[in-house]
Amino acid sequence: MTERDASADLPDAAPAAATGGGVVDLEAARRKRAEAERSASDEADRGLVARAQAGDRAALGELLHKHGPVLYRAVLLPRLGSDAAAKDALSETYAKVVANIGRFTWQNVGFYPWLRTVALRVALDQLRGRKRVALWEEEDLARELDAASTTTPIDDRLSAQRDLDDAKKKVDAALEKINPRYANAIRMRVLEERPRDEVAAELGVTPATFDVLLHRAIHALKKTLEVKSDG
């Protein structure tokens, strides 16, 4: 089976995967199809960017509709730590895009990397301007911005996945700095959202004692994050 055949018949090609050659074909076909999808998506974006730069606001709206949700979930929300702050940043990012779309130059890496850089700048400004609880510090974001402007942009989906993975690593790194028992309590109750009674039983304490344990755990974490309050 050629790559072209495999790509065309991907859903029916599963039995071929049982053989060694089939696995290779299938993987190659999958890559090829993903590449074709990316290319078509980039081409569509290019057309929308051209229309947006000619003053077509609806085209600009389509671009934001397409990329905004990923930007919000993978970049802004983890870095800013609250949905309100992330929505403000998203709004601000869009306003900057509207104002600066004329300066954007298409460089065959798509629209998302540029949008992400704008969003990182906005997020950095927010972190500087307001004191809030967040796992990212200004220096972290400044480093990410440097990386965004000096390294070759990667595929949108890969970039979003990498951002999500980085966010999880930030959480793990923060939890490693506190007492393992505190970290466990936070993991089970806050991150995994398991029922209070179940977590208390697993930690071998009463629910009331667990409440105190979790409270101490959150305070310990707050200290390591060097939380600065608004007041």
Binding site: G61, L77, A84, V98, R132, H219
Partner: protein, 166 residues
């Protein structure tokens, strides 16, 4: 354990098994309630936002895009989250109306632009192509009827194109 827990700052207890003070118990209860009601502690919110960020609500995102694209005033989410409840209710009501207007404007803009791009509108033009031979005297009504039918069709097509349903 040598130190009286009552003398400690509730936030400064580093021993998971130390007996809690009354203040600590009260703070722990507040945290328990906030976790159950979803009215989150900022650290909890930040942790969840980084560990498993929730996607943005599609309607709310559409409203943000529409607001920016149509140039409507932006809404301040963060300051609203910090506002007292009564203020929130008022802002939510006004915000809701604003969102509805922004979405409507965005949809209209989108449809209008789409229609303009995909279906060029029929323009005013000569009626000559409607007639292959000259009308004779007394046939004015038939001529007007033919023009009216053709222009009514144009008008209908244009309207459908503007609505984006052609």
């Amino acid at each position: 354990m040598a130190e009286d827990p009552k003398n400690k700052d509730p936030g400064l207890v580093d021993d998971p098994d130390a007996p809690p003070s009354e203040e600590e118990r009260a703070a722990a209860e507040r945290l328990r309630v906030s976790l159950e009601t979803g009215d989150g502690d900022p650290v909890v919110t930040a942790l969840r936002a980084a560990h498993a960020p929730e996607p943005i609500d599609a309607t709310e995102h559409a409203a943000i895009v529409a607001r920016v694209v149509t140039g409507a005033p932006r809404r301040a989410y963060a300051s609203m989250a910090d506002a007292p409840r009564s203020t929130k209710v008022l802002r939510l009501s006004l915000g809701g109306a604003g969102v509805a207007i922004a979405i409507a404007a965005g949809v209209l803009l989108f449809l209008q632009s789409k229609a303009d791009h995909e279906h060029p509108l029929a323009r005013a033009r000569t009626t000559q192509p409607l007639f292959s031979e000259p009308f004779k005297a007394g046939e004015a009504s038939a001529r007007i009827d033919r023009i009216a039918v053709a222009r009514a069709a144009d008008f209908r097509d244009n309207r459908f194109a503007k609505w984006g349903v052609r």
